[in-house]
């Protein structure tokens, strides 16, 4: 299990971010308005905003300080990306076909090309950043409170974590410190859970199902038990870019594939019918 957790933790995407041409000084060549990054799948893309803006500062028409007054968001193919999901989840939602291809082709190398744009109003599905990076941290901690409640039926375990430990927990994400992350997350996640924190992403929607770890007969639920009925088509279930066997134990998949926000994110890809 540790080897899979390490692969999940180390998973990263090659991302090319191009800034909105409206913000760029006229005459600046396009290649100067891009930043290439390797972003961990298990991170929020919004955590990289300040770095990207600082890298492009010399080519932007507006003073960086004034830019902070604007609302920024990322887009892929004109579709705004909801930063409140892990970056890898956003990639898998937008590129499910590529994910399945990549799973079959070990030589597959992808560059995810996205745009950074801004305006006075953010799109409906994007949470505006109004308190800087502190807001992202607070949002993430609220996710963990939910996770703790789902797993244990109470948030007491996470409330018992000191402020200092909570800070270390967050910084373990930013510094990619898996040991600290594991030390704290294993205190929140019990060996035997009542319910499993799952978010299912299907057809531009997300669902948070009630997912008991055991069925009525006391037998471990399988992944297929919480996904059946969601689509009339044949489906593939993806997590962290990996196609998950449908008959796997839900708890075992959770233990291996949980994201840094404590949820198991499952992306459903509907397969075309065979003709």
């Amino acid at each position: 299990m540790n080897a899979i957790r390490k692969l999940v933790w180390d998973g990263a995407l090659n991302v090319e971010v191009t800034i909105d041409p409206e913000l760029v000084i006229k005459g600046i060549p396009k290649n100067k308005t891009m930043v290439n990054l390797r972003i961990p799948r298990d991170s929020y893309i919004m955590n990289y905003l300040d770095y990207i803006l600082t890298r492009l500062e010399a080519y932007i028409r507006v003073n960086l300080k004034d830019l902070k007054e604007l609302n920024f968001w990322f887009e892929y193919d004109g579709i705004p990306l909801s930063w409140n999901y892990p970056t890898g989840v956003l990639y898998d939602i937008m590129n499910t076909k590529d994910v399945i291809t990549a799973a079959r082709d070990t030589n597959h190398l992808n560059m995810w090309r996205i745009n950074l744009t801004c305006g006075s109003q953010v799109p409906r599905n994007v949470i505006p950043i109004i308190e800087g990076t502190k807001q992202i941290e607070k949002y993430w901690m609220h996710q963990w409170k939910q996770v703790c409640f789902i797993l244990r039926g109470s948030s007491k375990q996470i409330m018992s974590i000191s402020r200092k430990e909570g800070q270390s927990f967050w910084e373990s994400i930013l510094r990619r410190d898996m040991e600290t992350f594991n030390n704290i997350s294993t205190r929140i996640i019990p060996k035997k859970a009542r319910f499993i924190p799952v978010v299912i992403h299907i057809n531009d929607k997300f669902i948070q199902p009630v997912a008991p770890s055991l069925n009525d007969d006391g037998i471990e639920n399988k992944v297929i038990n919480i996904t059946e009925g969601l689509s009339s088509s044949e489906i593939a279930i993806i997590s962290h870019g990996v196609v998950i066997p449908k008959k796997s134990s839900l708890k075992e998949v959770y233990d291996r594939f949980l994201s840094f926000d404590g949820f198991l994110h499952l992306i459903i890809q509907e397969q075309p019918a065979n003709t």
Binding site: R124, N125, I127, I130, Q135, K145, F149, S155, D204, V210
Partner: protein
Amino acid sequence: MISHEEYKQQLKNLYESTGFQEWGKCKHIHLSPSYDWLSINADFPSNPNISPEQQDFAHLELKIVYSVVYKEPQLLLRVWKYAVDETGITVKVPVFPPDIKDFLNLPAWIQINLDIHSHDGLAETWYFIHPCDTSEIVGMCHHEKYLERWTSTFVSSLLP
């Protein structure tokens, strides 16, 4: 805690009573046909923190929903403001003041953060009042009055 079915029944009863209409800030109220949620357009609470230059605020939108995770009612909030769009027409747009607790004069114990609420496939940003300590805050009461008591604590007392 309250079951989803009890919540829906109590929400319907509350809507049919005069409870919300008697709350002085209520301008408009709507109950979903499935009794899953109730929305209220309300005046802003009296607050010296709202300065004159902020007077183009239109109204406060409240939404009562059911949290499947916490098995509790949950209050969502949005602030609407008048703005002029690119065609010169005055429209209402949602705004998200960073100091929402000061802005609405909310007590210190309230935990509030922005999150996405999905309804009928439409994802939207709202302020969420965190429901994790709801049972302790609402206190012991007759179960059939749970939502009434919750409303008194989280709506009319919070936003007088």
